[in-house]
């Protein structure tokens, strides 16, 4: 029998708690497929965020640690410096990475830490039920911007890839989207490039994934996917922001 599709070895049997249409489950699967394909499951150490993906260690079938809210890049730094031949990645949401953990992500990139970061940008705080995130779009309604994000009052969204691209320490930065099949395939390709960047010791890599939170966006999964393509990607253009080929 020819097996065309099966569960990656890097995922456990556990059923996730994610809502229907949530991007987290898709991204977990893509990471697991990449880890399997690169044959690095037994030397990978993941860092789960505080956010909806807080239980990531239940879903990945390799070593995963917890980290305090926003601190995965610092924890990853400690792990990678002690075990330079392991593959270390941090998994973070936009509150985790671009609000409470802004200092940690900027400095991990500036130091050129040879780690990979999977940054799930869903433009909202999922776990705490829908408050404004640093990536919430102008005009967007959340539970703390009930009349819509007013940039003159709430400030502007942060474009993380563009910000980190200014740092000499970052080696590979790409923004992708989960609003289309091509986008999902492209996201997997980008995650693989990020892990390869680490394997080849080229330095800091990050993939920012525009991802759906249908529950807090108050959209159906299909509407949420369309919204990523037609609205979110306008403010956060997908593409490669940095790709340095040489070893650091």
């Amino acid at each position: 029998m020819n097996v065309l599709y099966k569960k990656p070895e890097s995922l456990t049997k556990e059923i996730t708690i994610y809502c229907p249409g949530c991007g987290h489950g898709i991204i977990h699967r893509l990471i697991a497929e990449v880890v399997d394909e690169l044959g690095i499951r037994e030397k990978t150490i993941g860092i789960a965020p505080v956010g909806c993906a807080v239980l990531a260690y239940n879903y990945f079938n390799f070593d995963v640690t917890e980290a305090a809210h926003g601190r995965p890049p610092a924890v990853a730094t400690g792990i990678k410096r002690c075990l330079p031949d392991r593959i270390v990645f941090a998994y973070q949401g936009d509150g985790d990475l671009a609000a409470i953990g802004t200092a940690e992500i900027v400095h991990a990139a500036a130091r050129g830490e040879n780690i990979s970061v999977i940054f799930v940008n869903n433009g909202i705080y999922g776990m705490t039920k829908g408050q404004m995130a640093p990536t919430t779009l102008p005009g967007e309604k959340t539970t703390t911007t009930t009349k819509g994000r007013d940039t003159s009052y709430h400030g502007f969204p942060i474009r993380v890839c563009e910000l980190l691209a200014t740092l000499d320490g970052s080696a590979y930065l790409e923004r992708t989207e989960l609003g289309s099949i091509q986008g999902i395939i492209g996201t997997k390709r980008a995650i693989k490039k990020a892990f390869n960047c680490q394997i080849e010791k080229r330095g800091f890599s990050l993939v920012e994934v525009l991802s759906a939170c249908p529950t807090n966006w108050k959209k159906t999964p299909a509407e949420a996917m369309a919204w990523i393509r037609t609205v979110m990607a306008n403010y956060f253009p997908v593409g490669v922001y940095k790709d340095i080929k040489e070893q650091v």
Binding site: T65, E66, I79, R81, C82, E104
Partner: protein, 346 residues
């Protein structure tokens, strides 16, 4: 045994290296800048990792990462920086990860000043961070003891899988004294809980999150039993001139060292004074203090703060009317003469 002249910061760093520490992350703050500077040279020299972190928050979380790989890891700071580390210390305690944190206490609250102080006694012994946990707290009174206790801190941290604090102050951090160095530890304890990649075994996780009903309660009781074992086994204290004593001074760290001189001066004048010095501030040697204090007519607690260890003396002695306090907060350092005056006054 090799004898060298070191500052307190350097001695703590050397104690860590002798104990097999291979990871240091820190952020500059007076009066422990020398610590971070010293480790920036000494860690690479001893094949360890040094990182100047972007903040104390990052530093403690780097230590968290290093510790979960099995490395002996540490950070150092002074009071405001230790406040920032508290969330990380709480996570270390919850995740049962060993680590050593050195505090060269300066005056507070707020930015306070940069002079020696013992004002972080409550913060150190009462948890500091959130949640139901304890940290072992070791309080040296000399540069030699900073070295010895930092060394010991790593063994205790590994034995109990828990963060250990060394609480010194700005004076001990900066003064120089001769230190006898031990041989660098070669054989470190084996750890069967680390994250190193799951080759040849089932995947593991490190976590402090327990959402199912009752599971966190069970976890907290497990921690509580561990703390109970520490209380039973790890109390350290010193006594000086306590066999025939009327007036008992209770003091720790720098204040104890100055108090010991005051005791000698009192003895020369025929006053029967003695000194009890807790070296572990948690677990506090309450039982022994209670026993020793039975003979004392009066008890004088001397601290460089407004009266914090005083609470623990009251818990241990249970007879408030005999207890007096002499304190110097905000960077004040008492002289032996001033303490002697207090001994005579009470």
């Amino acid at each position: 045994m090799r004898k060298v002249l070191l500052t307190g910061c350097e001695a703590s760093g050397e104690g860590a290296i002798s104990a097999g520490c291979t990871f240091y992350a820190g952020y500059p703050i007076t009066p422990q800048n020398r610590f971070t500077e010293y480790m920036s040279d000494r860690m690479p020299e001893s094949k360890g990792v040094f990182i100047q972190a972007e903040s104390e928050i990052a530093a403690i979380n780097m230590v968290f990462g290093a510790s979960l790989t099995g490395a002996r890891a540490m950070t150092s700071s002074s009071s405001p920086g230790i406040s920032l580390k508290q969330e990380g210390i709480s996570y270390l305690a919850g995740c049962e990860l060993p680590a050593v944190i050195v505090n060269m206490n300066r005056g507070g609250p707020g930015l306070g000043d940069v002079t020696p102080s013992q004002s972080d006694y409550f913060q150190s012994t009462r948890g500091g961070g959130h949640g139901d946990y304890r940290t072992i707290v070791l309080a040296p009174w000399s540069v030699q003891e900073i070295y010895d206790l930092t060394y010991l801190a790593f063994d205790l941290a590994d034995r109990y899988r828990t963060p250990v604090l060394v609480l010194a102050d700005g004076m001990l951090a900066q003064m120089m004294e001769p230190v006898e160095l031990l041989k660098t530890k070669k054989r470190l304890p084996k750890k069967n809980w680390t994250l190193t990649g799951c080759k040849g075994r089932k995947p593991r996780s490190i976590k402090s999150l327990f959402l199912s009903p009752g599971v966190l309660e069970t976890h907290n009781w497990k921690l509580a039993r561990k703390y109970q074992r520490i209380m039973e086994k790890e109390q350290i204290y010193n006594t000086y001139m306590c066999t025939d004593m009327d007036i008992l001074i209770v003091s720790f760290g720098t204040a104890a060292r100055i108090s010991s001189e005051a005791v000698s001066m009192a003895r020369e004048q025929g006053i029967r004074a003695g000194l009890f010095r807790p070296v572990t501030l948690w677990p506090y040697p309450s039982g022994v203090l209670n026993k020793i204090s039975e003979k004392a007519k009066k008890i004088l607690v001397v601290e460089m703060n407004c009266g914090q260890m005083l609470d623990d003396v009251k818990i241990a002695v249970r007879n408030d009317s005999r207890i007096f306090f002499y304190g110097r907060p905000g960077g004040g350092v008492p002289t032996p003469e001033e303490i002697l005056k207090e001994i005579k006054r009470i």
